[in-house]
């Protein structure tokens, strides 16, 4: 900055964070600490609700990175939730591996599955890609329904000896004076918190990196990005495989917590894709803040309206249509435009200095997201 201040001519610099986002970073750290310590005070119901909120948010961030940035609109992410769940069951029930170790292994294996899957579905583009991923998820479901050691079409349950073999349970029981099932929830809660924090950090770091610039360029205009030298295929492949790994880990955690798996539930397009899309779209696609807001709204709707069954889903479908038609940037898009807020500073702003007094004026920003919308 000294160079710029010394010269009276126009100088510029690139800025990402502003005061709002710096405050947000402080608040996020405090919230994270509070959440880590929460099991000491909170009841079991709240812990279970938060586990649900966390894994839905982690899945939503993954889908947002895929669809909102890389332009890969997948309707088949349930493939990797189910795969992760089944891998956890296979590793613990058949392989005798410790459940907490099985979660990262499930992530690695999901990535290994995602690579050949991508080579096939990447032959389809745009909307055709969407249905292609759905077909692949169906193939995964039908194959696991044939896998007899894990119960075939009807599925199977984790044995109590496995669910209570999660490391740390004894320690939590002694520390917080709770019974085994509650201690198990607390461990799952911490894992879920770690996964959601890890996902947020990963998405944030990716978007702040060079590759993030490429992703933003692809989001805004794919052909233009390609002409500027972005290797579209490679960037998309990396994003697809990385989100598959994270989705697989979240899937493994979900089914460790549920302790019962069946092909229809594990590969459910409604639970693991429709809800996730709803969260991202309501909150605001192509932003990191959007899925957070969307997940909280979804959690509240699920909690207070899910008893209405079919009408609840009709309401949700209608809401998604209305938002897409009239506010395609979602709630966060509306708020951030109105108040110029960023909590996760991933946008780069061009700041032009006109004099040497050191005063800076934000003058130009990134072009608006979703130029066509």
């Amino acid at each position: 900055m000294d160079d710029a201040a010394a010269k009276p001519t126009k100088a510029f610099r690139i800025e990402t964070a502003d005061r709002g986002s710096r405050t947000a970073a402080v608040i996020a750290t405090v919230v994270l600490l509070a959440l880590v310590l929460l099991p000491a005070f909170a009841g079991r119901n709240l812990i279970q609700d938060l586990i649900f909120l966390f894994y839905m948010l982690a899945l939503a961030q993954c889908w947002n990175l895929l669809a909102g940035y890389a332009g890969l609109i997948s309707v088949g992410q349930q493939a990797f939730v189910g795969l992760g769940g089944y891998l956890l069951f296979a590793l613990t029930l058949l392989g005798g591996i410790n459940p907490l170790l099985a979660i990262p292994i499930a992530g690695v294996v999901s990535a290994l599955f995602a690579l050949p899957t991508a080579l096939i579905v990447f032959r389809l583009h745009g909307a055709y890609f969407a249905i292609g991923t759905w077909v692949v998820a169906e193939v995964y479901r039908l194959v696991f329904a044939q896998f007899k050691p894990l119960g075939g079409g009807t599925g199977t349950s984790l044995t109590p000896s496995i669910t209570s073999s999660v490391p740390g349970i004894e320690w939590v029981k002694a520390l917080l004076d709770v019974r085994t099932p509650a201690a198990r929830d607390i461990i799952s809660y911490w894992v879920a918190l770690a996964l959601v924090a890890g996902t947020l950090a990963f998405v944030y770091l990716v978007l702040r990196s060079r590759r993030g610039l490429a992703l933003g360029a692809i989001r805004d205009h794919e052909a233009a990005a390609a002409s500027l030298g972005v290797d579209i295929y490679r960037v998309k492949l990396v994003v697809y495989v990385a989100t598959a790994a994270m989705t697989g880990m979240v899937g493994a955690l979900i089914y460790l917590q549920k302790a019962r798996i069946s092909p229809d539930a594990a590969f459910s397009v409604l639970d693991w894709t429709a809800y996730i899309i709803f969260i991202v779209v309501i909150g605001g696609i192509g932003t990191m803040e959007g899925p957070v807001i969307g997940a909280i709204i979804f959690y509240l709707m699920q909690r207070y309206l899910a008893d209405f069954g079919a009408s609840y889903l009709i309401l949700m479908g209608s809401l998604a249509i209305i938002v897409m038609l009239f506010a395609p940037k979602g709630i966060w898009g509306f708020v951030s435009e109105r108040f110029n807020l960023t909590l996760f500073p991933i946008r780069r702003r061009l700041v032009i200095q006109t004099d040497n007094s050191g005063r800076v004026e934000p003058s130009a920003e990134e072009p608006p997201r979703h130029g066509g919308a």
């Binding site: 389809l124 745009g126 249905i131 039908l142 044939q146 479908g317 249509i321």
Partner: protein, 289 residues
Amino acid sequence: MTGWLDALIQGVLLGGLYALFAAGLSLIFGVMRLVNLAHGDLIVLAAFAVLVVAGKLGLDPFVAVLIALPIVFIIGFGLQYVLLNRTLGRDLLPPLLVTFGLSIIIQNGLLQIFSADSQRLHSGAIETASIPLGGGIAVGVVPVLTLLSAIVVIVLLNVIFYRTSIGRAFRATSDDLEVAQLMGIDHRRIFATAMGLAFVAITIAALYLGLRATFDPTIGPARLLYAFEAVIIGGIGSFWGTLAGGIVLGLAQTIGARIDPEWQILAGHLAFLVVLVLRPRGLFPRAQD
């Protein structure tokens, strides 16, 4: 041998049903590149509509469908004109999400009204009638009618697409939307007309869906996948390709089922993926595009 020959014949006939599922989807892919994720649910919705009309008026399903065709054309036209046209543009997400939302609304609306019970369309003796072909092989009258109807629908779509003025407008908007607009084509009406025609095909597909097997509100998405696979296997933009794609899918499913009944659906999906790997543009891709 007879068993395998039978499987082949039944596969081709089943392919007729899948071609009917796919005909409407193929038309709207071709004209406006819209991927309608509610397509399967619309087929199921139409089947329920035929069920109600036939039941309430005491009509044979075939007659009920004939009466329904102009009405569904108007519904399809209206849906495209009022709702789906708003979603079309450079961004892919709005049409996908709006039709995905529609899919969820239709499924749950049907569940609300008709419950999850399996339903079936009834048309008297024709349902169970069959034609013996000798050698212990017989084909059902309804499956044969399905295949013949699929061929008729494909021929009609080709005639409309390549021999009429509306078809010329379809091809023009499909090839270059902006230039077509400059030539005075109102693309919104053209798209709405295409959707109206797709709804006619959907309703015919629904008739045979209901006559051949039971249906319930949840089976829509699977029908969407079959229709989509038939279109992609055949090659986007070719109606005859769609018919061929449907037959390839039907054959894969019956051959898979012949090996192990549990593999029927999986075999169809795998055939689709194999075609995607070997011939990503389908068996009969249109020259341009």
